[in-house]
């Protein structure tokens, strides 16, 4: 049994112009100890999927219209808030994108790491603070005994993201959802944070759902990749297969838009981009949602939504064409 199995998940939001189909029938499964990358442009439903798993969507305006979120076989969707609170941080935790604003400015970082420990493991204040120091040490913050008493504004962006990771891992969850954990950081720090995440994952044996729009990041850390577009999964494959033989035109576009420095000056090519933007998801029409931006699009693409079909073991794609 998979650790987490998202089945046919649909999360819609009520807006003044109608229902926005942010997540529209998504299937993702994650095994124990596995790292799954979820990629796609901004606004294609990655974060909403993650927040739906944690049930952090504001309802209303949000609504889980259909589907299941099976956590170790148990569906989280109908779970009451109290039961959900026991799962958050203890079993599934999330690292947010914005380390600058995700920490509460009026508490020391130690108190914030200690909070989930005290909530979920019933540790005393002192025990929790000792654990907080250990966690800071684990995420490589120098002089953790001193830093544990500092406030978030006394940390840099990269350091704060380390603190966020420490908070997320404090209760030793089985799944960590990292929602673009490196987007807000500069490049050198990004590598450090990814490294750290990778190392901690190996040490603690948890599964990671890594949400990102950077293909390079996925190539580096994920074992399996799920490509999302406009609220749907368009391709799913082991990481090597995906980069070697991307099947969906969108995935191909994403991979081609990675800047390359390994080509020498004679072979210099213009960096490709996918023309257009993610379509509006308010009550979308039938048909492949990528068709409007796809250079291979045909008439039948616009008639019915293509289902995911298996093209190789573990490699599924939602495109009617064989590319």
């Amino acid at each position: 049994m998979a650790l987490l199995e998202i089945k046919g998940l649909k999360t819609h939001f009520k807006t003044d112009d109608g229902w926005l189909h942010a997540v529209d029938g998504v299937d993702i499964s994650i095994d124990r100890g596995e790292t799954v990358g979820v990629v796609g442009e901004s606004g294609c439903g990655k974060s909403v999927t993650a927040k739906t798993v944690m049930k952090l969507i504001d309802m209303p305006p949000g609504k889980i219209v259909a589907g299941q979120v099976l956590w170790k076989g148990r569906d989280l969707v109908p779970l009451p808030p109290e039961a959900m609170q026991k799962i958050r941080a203890k079993e599934i935790s999330i690292i947010f994108q914005e380390p600058m604003t995700s920490l509460n400015p009026v508490y020391t970082v130690g108190e914030q790491i200690a909070e989930s420990l005290r909530l979920h493991e019933g540790l005393s204040r002192r025990e929790a603070m000792d654990r907080a120091v250990e966690m800071l040490k684990l995420v490589r913050i120098p002089t953790p005994e001193r830093r544990v008493r500092d406030y978030p504004h006394q940390f840099s962006g990269g350091m704060r993201q380390r603190v966020m990771i420490a908070i997320a891992l404090a209760c030793k969850p089985q799944l960590v959802i990292a929602d673009e954990p490196t987007t807000a950081l500069d490049v050198t720090i990004q590598a450090q944070i990814l490294d750290l995440l990778q190392r901690l994952k190996d040490e603690m044996g948890m599964a990671v759902m890594l949400i990102t729009h950077a293909m390079g990041v996925v190539a580096e850390v994920a074992q399996r990749v799920v490509v999302m577009y406009a609220g749907k999964v368009v391709e799913e494959a082991p990481v090597k297969a995906l980069f070697a033989h991307p099947r969906h035109p969108y995935t191909q576009g994403l991979i081609r838009s990675i800047p390359r420095i390994d080509l020498d000056a004679q072979h210099k090519v213009r960096l490709e981009a996918i023309p257009g933007t993610v379509p509006k998801l308010i009550e979308p029409a039938e048909g492949c949602r990528f068709a409007a931006r796809c250079k291979h699009a045909r008439a039948e693409c616009r008639q019915a939504t293509p289902p995911l079909r298996e093209v190789a073991p573990g490699h599924r794609v939602a495109c009617i064409l064989d590319l």
Binding site: E82, R88, P105, E115, H153, I167
Partner: protein, 312 residues
């Protein structure tokens, strides 16, 4: 004085010898507070005033009701530093004694107003929907009521009941505090609601939710402390407003009974003698002025000092 670099702040914390986290928060806050000159000196002024009011009657042993007909309406002199009233009672003694009641009324009313305001504002800001609409409707209702007539009616109706229940002095104190507090909570409620509306959308609140914090815990532990800056300012305004409102009530003769001098009562008694005995109204008026002003400045300083994001 501690410098403005983080290094010296840490040194200061360590000098205090308290390793617990809150110590550094308070040490930091105190350091920032001292940078606010007006607030710092206002705190001194306020402290002196409170001390004078508390200890004054113990040191300055002139009875508040000692009548001296030979020195009626006497201007300030060595014998009577603030002069005397129309019955020859010493005004310094009366101002000192009256300060106790005025300050107590101010503080207690503020506590009532802030407690009610923060509770209502927090519930409204957190729940939204019809609960919020209903609570804000109540708030608007209270805001739009003509306060003074309502106060007078309430006091008129309940004064005798409370007097017989808990005694004349305590009775009127409780009544005045509840009535003033009950009519001063609306600004705090609105401020807190607005703060909650903006803070509940912040990432750190969502992060707390992601850690399994219940709605109540998010409110009390994560949102409320972040919204306290404006509340502190509202609180200081409330102390000042309560002192003034008590003065108004006493001035209209509906506050404390005539034999208990409060600053407002003293002004009420003095109003008929403004032309021939200015000192009578001058000193209680000055006391109210200094208190209200310094409380406002202290509130300003506190708001700045208690914000840990502020680097000073």
């Amino acid at each position: 004085m501690a410098g403005s670099t983080p290094a010296s702040a840490t040194a200061e914390t360590q000098a205090l010898g308290r390793p617990a986290a809150p110590a550094s928060l308070w040490a930091d806050a105190w350091r920032r507070f001292k940078h606010h000159r007006l607030a710092y000196w206002s705190l001194w002024a306020l402290g002196l005033l409170v001390l004078a009011v508390l200890l004054g009657p113990l040191v300055y042993k002139v009875g508040i009701n000692d009548v001296d007909f030979k020195a009626r309406l006497a201007p300030p002199s060595w014998q009577h530093p603030m002069g005397t009233d129309d019955l020859g009672r010493d005004l310094l003694a009366r101002v000192l004694y009256g300060g106790r009641i005025s300050l107590a009324v101010g503080m207690a009313s503020m506590v009532v107003a802030i407690a009610v305001g923060v509770t209502i504002g927090a519930i409204a800001g957190m729940s939204r929907g019809w609960v919020d609409a209903f609570l804000m409707w109540i708030t608007d209702l209270f805001l739009s009521m003509p306060q003074l007539p309502m106060l007078l009616v309430l006091i008129f109706f309940f004064r005798d009941g409370l007097k017989s229940l808990v005694g004349p002095e305590v009775g009127i104190f409780v009544l005045i505090v509840l009535v003033i507090g009950g009519f001063r909570w609306m600004p705090a409620a609105r401020v807190v609601r607005a703060q909650f509306f903006s803070l509940r959308e912040k990432e750190f609140v969502e992060a707390a939710r992601a850690l399994g914090a219940s709605t109540q815990r998010q409110m009390v532990r994560h949102i409320l402390p972040n919204s306290l800056g404006p509340v502190i300012v509202a609180a200081t305004i409330d102390v000042a407003a309560a002192i003034i409102l008590e003065s108004t009530l006493s001035f209209l003769g509906l506050g404390f009974p005539p034999d208990i001098p409060t600053w407002g009562r003293l002004l009420f008694d003095a109003k008929d003698y403004l032309d021939i005995a200015m000192h009578w109204s001058l000193f209680p008026g000055l006391a109210i002025f200094i208190t209200v002003l310094s409380i406002s400045f202290v509130g300003d300083g506190l708001r700045d000092a208690l914000d840990p994001r502020r680097v000073l």
